[in-house]
Point group: C2
Chain length 237, copies 2
């Protein structure tokens, strides 16, 4: 256990247990370094980590204080569907039901416009787990950003998996809602009419340019979004 880790854990324990309450002042870096018999830089590193985690706030001249948790955050893991299904030991297939190039339309432009210069590839398909329908996918891909998509065969690999390896580092924004299945959607998923669906919408971009938009519809009771987390003040992404 490094000295930095000792300092960080001791302070964190006092904060999480309530020994120190929001607003309480922590010792100065100089005081802590004296107590642990270490350099101030070591203390600084420990407290920087606590700041990054949103546990404390630091103000020059004033000192360090236990933060007031304002917004609770939950870190959801959004796995690639193919990987998720295969990870459960089930066979996976993606069935393309519609695939066509369309000119750009101000469809989902309000939230995060796609780069529509060369048109958009529109794909509708079905994710299958063990030959049974698992989720509906409706996707738009910017051909200006991903020209290769026009000639890619998405029967071999789902658009999500393909884009993930094609553009490894992207940023995204999610919107999660619930909706009732339309007649067609219910049929596709082998669900009763009006069944509750979990809708996950994702806008993805790279270097400020909109790359893809996708809406995934899951049977509401079959797919769980789960998170482990903690409260933060929202400092760190």
């Amino acid at each position: 256990m490094t000295i930095e880790e000792q300092i960080r854990r001791n302070l964190e324990k006092d904060i999480r247990s309530g020994t120190l309450s929001p607003g309480d002042r922590l010792p100065t870096e100089a005081e802590i370094s004296a107590r642990y018999g270490c350099a101030r830089a070591t203390v600084s590193k420990a407290m920087a980590a606590l700041t990054a985690d949103g546990l404390i706030e630091r103000r020059k001249k004033a000192g360090s204080f236990v933060a007031l948790p304002s917004v609770r955050t939950a870190v959801l893991e959004i796995p690639d569907i193919a990987a998720l299904i295969l990870g459960r030991g089930l066979s996976y297939d993606f069935i393309v039901q519609e695939q066509q190039v369309r000119p750009w339309q101000p469809d989902h432009g309000a939230e995060a416009p796609l780069d529509g210069g060369n048109g958009l590839l529109s794909i509708e398909g079905l994710h299958m787990a063990a030959r049974a329908p698992f989720a509906i996918e409706r996707r738009l891909i910017s051909l200006a950003q991903v020209p290769d998509a026009a000639t890619q065969d998405f029967r071999a690999i789902s658009p999500g998996s393909w884009l993930l390896q094609k553009l490894p580092w992207t940023e995204a924004r999610h919107r999660i809602t619930a909706c009732n299945a339309s007649a067609a959607e219910a049929d596709m998923l082998s669900l009763p009419r009006q069944a509750a669906l979990l809708s996950v919408e994702r806008w993805t971009w790279r270097s400020q340019a909109g790359v893809t938009f996708v809406r995934l519809l899951f049977p509401g009771n079959r797919y769980d979004l789960v998170s482990a987390f903690g409260p933060t003040t929202g400092k760190r992404a």
Copy 2:
């Protein structure tokens, strides 16, 4: 702009833009410090930040490499409902519909058992926005962990808000699903039968002890969980 920040941003730009691909080797700390004319500790700090953000992986003797993003994460903000509604400029009320102390039962014990030593306080209520129903809340509170809850009047303040200020630093786990409203739930929320509801379940604990479990039911189309985020390898909480 600090030197550390320059180094971090330059590397991050190369990774996000694809100039550097997953698996590519980055320069050593010594090389970078020479190029920027700074101390190695400064480079180390910059690369430690990239590691924390999941952008790179570092192995002794081998070097630093662009990470392969495995799991996509989305950081959802889970606001306090009262704060959320008031923030929209609407009036907020919490209506308690049922409140009783019950002995511990192995209800939700499988996921994260509550500390049931002194029994559990069971609350069912309705969050109201502008006098209209907004969400159903069903909650269990451990009286062993929060004895004051037994005598608290939750007509003045919702259980969620009260617990938030009573136990500022807790940890939680969320589960998000969609379900069809039961007849009673539809009536409570003034929705048609079978309406799709967004269900947010939260287990909260503090210092390894289960504090509370809550299930919130929102009209699926009225409440959006939105996140801003990016891909990570899941290194940092």
